[in-house]
Symmetry: C2
Subunit: 122 residues, 2 copies
């Protein structure tokens, strides 16, 4: 009975969970909220810059220069990412530091990849 054993394995490893089981209304609303925060070129790059930055965090002053945008605009995008739970921030003296919240990113990952149960940090 090799077939019976093969199917369950495929069931776990194949295909994005998103397209394996219909998403509920509530789930969809919540996920859309987070995806919407991510679905912007500037915010994608901001998140990426913050996450990839040395120490896993970045000061706003290190982010503004990268873009051809004013400080208020960057601040706005950071706020959107923050309210979506994708990043968090803390003021330390003169500067404000931002870092990525792994849990929220992993929730999105769970849409595309099965079995990501307890992913590691960062």
């Amino acid at each position: 009975m090799p077939i019976q054993k093969q199917l369950p394995v495929l069931d776990q490893e194949c295909c994005a969970p998103l397209v394996r089981q219909p998403l509920g209304t509530g789930e969809a609303a919540e996920l859309a909220r987070v995806l919407k925060a991510l679905a912007d070129p500037v915010r994608l790059r901001l998140l990426s810059l913050i996450g990839a930055h040395e120490g896993g965090e970045a000061c706003v002053c290190e982010l503004t220069g990268v873009f051809d945008l004013t400080a208020p605009t960057i601040s706005h995008h950071l706020k959107v990412l923050r309210e979506a739970g994708l990043i968090d921030a803390e003021r330390r003296g003169t500067w404000v530091y931002y870092w990525v919240v792994p849990v929220t990113l992993n929730r999105l990952a769970g849409l595309f990849v099965p079995d990501l149960a307890a992913s590691s940090s960062r």
Copy 2:
């Protein structure tokens, strides 16, 4: 030299690629385009319904009833998903059938999970 061997492994398996290396401007723009298509509760559910439907495809007539929206609105959302390359469609007689394009979904998956090189179908 166990450390030298361990680091490269972590480098491959840990953390979303998105937050490991800064995203380029072009990449970010392209990804944002696809994410924006996905970042809507109705479209998330549509994609999920289509993908999870028997045979991997669904007729529009099977989708409209699920939502409290008019047919033109559903049609609009399907068009957005289609133009993002997330789904494709074909008319067969009276009905139009939609199915998920795995390649595009996998490109998104690659943001969150490393090493997803050649993922399987659907």
